[in-house]
């Protein structure tokens, strides 16, 4: 997919459409990549996402047909799960114990120190909570964190 180059100025203009999932795919990919790469926080995204969450409150719940759960679980049973991100020694994801418990304090403390750790697949820089979830398929990855792209951003 061709990537459209977006600057910090452009990206805030696109924030509303981005949080509504209303950009064309190439633009969507560009904005996601920018949020991953850009050292500047883009708080507008979180602000507008909060408005989007309000929209969800207007959705009327509708139960799926009874057979749906069996259908979903049967489908899931044969789906391999994606590779688990390697444990991040910076601790930003927290270490899951055998019973699945994760210490919340562990997940908070060191997130920022993951910044720039190229080998760490635990969690990308927090970007003030605005980075892409993106189906999880690149979320939590440092793959896009390498600086050097022309994001037009102020560098730290």
């Amino acid at each position: 997919m061709e990537r459209v180059n977006v600057t910090c100025h452009d990206i805030d203009e696109l924030a509303g459409l981005y949080v509504l999932d209303a950009l064309e795919p190439a633009e969507m990919a560009s904005v996601s990549a920018h949020l991953q790469e850009c050292p500047d926080p883009h708080p507008l995204f979180a602000e507008l996402a909060a408005g989007t969450i309000g929209l969800l409150a207007t959705v009327e719940r509708l139960d799926t047909p009874l057979a749906m759960k069996d259908r979903v679980m049967a489908a899931v049973a044969v789906i391999p799960q994606g590779p688990r991100p390697r444990a991040c020694r910076h601790g930003s994801r927290g270490a899951a114990t055998d019973d699945g418990a994760v210490t919340r304090a562990d997940t908070r403390a060191d997130t920022a120190t993951c910044d720039g750790a190229a080998a760490c697949d635990g969690a990308a820089p927090a970007l003030d909570g605005t980075a892409a979830a993106r189906d999880g398929s690149t979320a939590g990855s440092h793959l896009l964190a390498a600086p050097g792209g022309d994001t037009g951003c102020r560098r730290r």
């Binding site: 203009e13 929209l55 009327e60 749906m68 679980m73 979830a133 979320a139």
Partner: protein
């Protein structure tokens, strides 16, 4: 014979007490029953959302199935620092639904691979409680207070799966106008909802 009102299934009940985030972590560890519990919690909202967007039961059911498959496949990548589990899961479902309606349009630009990438639907934790407490009618009031063109742009985007180009064509407006209507509308919506949140009585479990 169990006493009336006792949990019929202690294991299931134990799972039900876990947070969405814990259930996602369990699912990431391969626990299918954790995903089943998430299904019980969210199938109604996801199906309602998918129906609102696709207006077709068969498509909407496919969306729900695809969403849970995506959640299962990517559960280990969920990052609670970035989004609530609820926001993350619903962003996946929303994106699948939008993808389904866009595929019906001959002019749509489709994503080049089979793994649609929803945007972040990320908000500070405080919104978790807000959105649980506000009912549909309250938010509808907030929506109704928006300038009609702002509301239209937001609803066409979020509930009809239209891209900015679609909205610009439909409303005969320049792209820049669509962008600013959406942004201003969402900002106003947030402000209105925050004001309503403040006016709600203090949260009381027993109420």
């Amino acid at each position: 014979m169990q006493q009336q009102g006792a949990p019929p299934d202690p294991i299931r009940n134990q799972l039900d007490e876990r947070s969405d985030e814990e259930l996602l972590r369990n699912a990431a560890d391969g626990a299918q029953e954790a995903l089943a519990t998430l299904f019980d919690r969210y199938q109604g909202l996801m199906y309602g959302l998918a129906m609102k967007i696709t207006a077709d039961p068969a498509t909407a059911q496919d969306v729900v199935q695809d969403a849970f498959a995506g959640i299962w496949r990517n559960a280990s990548r969920f990052d609670s620092e970035r989004a609530s589990a609820r926001a993350w899961m619903l962003a996946i479902a929303h994106h699948r639904a939008v993808d389904a309606v866009r595929r019906r349009r001959p002019t749509a630009q489709l994503e080049s691979d089979g793994a649609p990438l929803p945007p972040a639907l990320v908000a500070p934790d405080i919104w978790g409680e807000v959105r649980q407490r506000l009912d549909a009618a309250t938010v509808r009031i907030a929506l109704d207070r928006l300038a009609p063109l702002q509301r239209e742009a937001i609803e066409l985007a979020y509930f009809k799966g239209m891209t900015q180009q679609d909205i610009a064509a439909r409303t005969e407006s320049p792209l820049g106008t669509v962008k600013s209507r959406v942004r201003l509308g969402l900002q106003t919506l947030r402000t209105e909802i925050e004001a309503m949140e403040r006016s709600l009585p203090a949260f009381d479990e027993g109420a």
